[in-house]
């Protein structure tokens, strides 16, 4: 078997890539995709800890079930986020978050 820390290292790398995307990209769709990467890095961790936990024999499902919930939240986030992007684009012809900051005082 692959030791646990390797999964965590890959998840950390994926999370950092996502953070870079969120910080450096200007396009809202690209930022949303980077957020999806970060959520998936979290999911890798959850499943890895669930699998390697020594109490796995009494059927602790926390990590497993939690991953399913994260998946649902990620999907809801993508759906609403993209809908907002489409609407903002329709009204302002732009998908750059900084350019759509009318609500900021």
């Amino acid at each position: 078997m692959v030791p646990l820390w390797m999964y965590l290292a890959v998840a950390a790398a994926l999370f950092s890539i996502g953070v870079f995307g969120v910080l450096a990209r200007r396009n809202a769709v690209a930022i949303l995709m980077s957020v999806e990467l970060m959520l998936n890095a979290v999911n890798i961790n959850l499943v890895a800890f669930w699998r390697y936990s020594e109490t796995g024999t009494d059927l602790l499902l926390n990590g497993y079930a939690f991953t399913a919930f994260v998946l649902i939240v990620a999907a809801a986030e993508a759906a609403v986020g993209l809908a907002i992007i489409i609407t903002v684009y329709r009204n302002r012809r732009s998908v750059i978050p900084e350019e759509a900051a009318t609500l900021k005082g």
């Binding site: 692959v2 030791p3 646990l4 820390w5 390797m6 999964y7 965590l8 290292a9 890959v10 950390a12 790398a13 994926l14 999370f15 950092s16 890539i17 996502g18 953070v19 870079f20 995307g21 910080l23 450096a24 200007r26 396009n27 769709v29 690209a30 995709m33 999806e36 990467l37 998936n40 999911n43 499943v47 890895a48 669930w50 699998r51 390697y52 936990s53 020594e54 796995g56 059927l59 499902l61 497993y64 079930a65 991953t67 399913a68 919930f69 998946l71 939240v73 999907a75 809801a76 993508a78 759906a79 609403v80 993209l82 809908a83 907002i84 992007i85 489409i86 609407t87 684009y89 998908v95």
Partner: protein
């Protein structure tokens, strides 16, 4: 790490996951970016298989490659001038340094404490099946409240997104 099917799979899926991730953040073309995202998430699905959670792997493919990829593509086409403009990256160097620092912190903070712990021999043999998950989801002592809340969340997301995205003049 000896050479066997699992370690080969791990290396292959790591390349998929991280390569796809790098592709997502570096590709300027948003459609290609979506494909890279799918490559990366396919790698994550592979991890789930290696971690004996094939149900999550199938669901990952179903939800991301089957639905979210399509949704992102539709959104990209609807905001079409985006793909044409030459997007400039902002704050490349600070972002890079920040994410690299985060990676190192995560590596040190998370990996070192458990390095060597959980030796492969101590991994539980029996893992929960999909049936166990199904039973736990609707068990009063299990996840029945989050289960129903997830339904409420999805309903709210769907109603909200339709409300936002619909053409008012239509």
């Amino acid at each position: 790490m000896e050479l066997n099917a699992i370690s080969i799979g791990f290396v292959v899926f790591s390349i998929f996951t991280l390569g796809g991730g790098v592709g997502v953040v570096t590709t300027r073309n948003l459609f290609q970016g979506t494909i890279w995202l799918m490559v990366s998430l396919f790698g994550v699905a592979g991890y789930f298989v290696l971690l004996s959670a094939p149900f999550l792997a199938a669901v990952q493919i179903l939800v991301y490659i089957g639905a979210i990829a399509i949704l992102i593509t539709f959104a990209v086409m609807l905001t079409r001038s985006v793909a044409r403009i030459k997007e400039r990256y902002i704050r490349i160097l600070p972002s890079f340094i920040a994410s690299l620092a985060l990676f190192l912190i995560l590596l040190l903070g998370v990996t070192i404490p458990i390095f060597g712990a959980h030796s492969p021999g101590s991994i539980p043999e029996y893992v929960a099946s999909t049936r166990d998950l199904g039973a736990a989801l609707v068990d009063e002592n299990g996840y029945v409240v989050p289960f129903l809340l997830a339904s409420v969340l999805l309903t709210a997301a769907m109603i909200g997104a339709i409300f936002i995205a619909r053409d008012e003049n239509a």
